[in-house]
Each structure stands twice: as structure tokens, then as C-alpha cells.
Symmetry: C2
Subunit: 133 residues, 2 copies
């Protein structure tokens, strides 16, 4: 469990993480990144409850804006995401989940990554070659 | 300029990109990623105007939620971000700017990446070793 006591190292005090949910209506974005390759697999949102559940379970848990409920990634598909490391940005309103993607697909389309298309010069979307899962 | 005519390739029609700003109050998140190393450098937001300006200028342009205005990254610091490629996610409400970071720092703290800290098991933030710029 987190403690609230200040800690220090040779660089000085080590702050507690205090996620800033205020600017995003109670949500912050979480980027899921393959912990081995660095590939960005998806982006979703976390509220305070999803954040707590992610820490408790060690599995990436999000808040679904469309369904308005907690969403443990892979609860239906089996394609869960095991948390290996979490990075936090400078103003504590975005996180990176460095994860192990079970089952090979982060995307509901079956692609390894939700970001499987690139923008062309004339505004279209073309599929990119994916790394092997 | 984008045209609205459908295009096709051997996989079928190639869709136009139609960013979905509806779920985020007019904003979608843009993850800035080093186009060479894949390192995630920052996450910020784009409205329709920032998106158009990014495409027009070839430089990453965001919408600042705190200042409530367009924000061309590096306009003050000189640490601009040159767009090399843009990836789009499955439901067209998040993008990755694959960029060349001029000046070496994406973060206003002087760190190469805004994500320069990791969460420890007891809820603190500790700095990680950064890749050389």
C-alpha cells in the first residue's frame, strides 16, 4: 500500500503520485505500450476507480466512455494486459501502461495495435505493416 | 489537399480520416513519439483547428487546455516537432504524431520526454534513466 510519508534519495524528496483527474472530467488518458518492443498498442481512459483497480489487480483496467463503466481489458476476449511498469508525465495527468499483451491483440479489430493505419498525404487511411505478434 | 473521392486498393476501399472529436469535448489526444526510436515523448490534445494547422504547417500543433488556445509546440522554446508520420487508431479518436524533436527536449522541465518518472510499488515517483538525446 502507498504510504504518505515523504521519501528522499540523493536528488531530494521523491514525490507521491497524485493523478490529476481535474482537467479531463475525472479521466486521464493511459497509453498502453508493449513493454518489450515499445510499440504503442492503444489509448484509453482511467478514472480514479479504474486506476485503483489497475494497481490492485496488476491488470490494465480502463473506464469506457461509451459504455460508462469500468472495463478490465480482455475480460471478455481473454486478451488481458499485465502491468509491467507505469510511467507518469510531468504534470501527472497522463500515464503509460507498459504491459505484456496476452493473446497478441490489443485491438477489437484483431490487429495487434489499434494504431494500425497511417494518414496519407491526401487524407486517407492506409494500413501499415504490423510487427509480428 | 484531401479529396473526398473514395479510393481503393487490393484490400478494398481506403477510407478518409474523419477524426471523432465528439467524445472528448472537441478534443482528441495526440501522442508524440520519436519517429526514430519509438520513445513516447509527450501527450497533448488537438482540436479541429490544431489538427488543420498541424497538417498545413507540418509542425505538431496542439490545443492547450490550461491556456485555452492553440499552441504550436516549440514556438517559444524553439523545440519544435516536425511531423514525419501520423498514425490513427481504430475508432479515429486518438492519433500518434511520429515526430522529429528539434532541440532534444519535448518536456518543459528540460527532460527529453515528459514521461521521465515511473511509479514505484509504494506509490512514489522515481526518475528513470533517459536515453541520450
Amino acid at each position: 500500500m502507498p504510504d504518505n510519508a515523504d521519501r528522499t534519495d540523493e536528488r531530494g524528496p521523491i514525490p507521491m503520485f497524485e493523478p490529476d483527474f481535474s482537467k479531463g472530467g475525472g479521466l486521464i488518458p493511459a497509453v498502453a505500450q508493449d513493454f518489450r518492443t515499445g510499440e504503442i498498442l492503444m489509448l484509453a481512459y482511467v478514472n480514479a476507480e479504474a486506476w485503483a483497480e489497475t494497481l490492485r489487480s496488476g491488470r490494465a483496467t480502463y473506464f469506457s466512455r461509451s459504455r460508462n463503466c469500468l472495463w478490465q481489458k480482455g475480460a471478455t476476449s481473454g486478451h488481458i494486459q499485465l502491468i509491467r511498469n507505469i510511467l507518469v508525465d510531468c504534470d501527472q495527468d497522463a500515464v503509460i501502461y507498459q504491459i505484456e499483451q496476452v493473446g497478441g491483440s490489443a485491438c477489437h479489430t484483431g490487429h495487434r495495435s489499434c494504431f494500425y493505419r497511417r494518414l496519407t498525404a491526401d487524407g486517407h487511411l492506409e494500413e501499415i505493416n504490423e510487427n509480428p505478434a
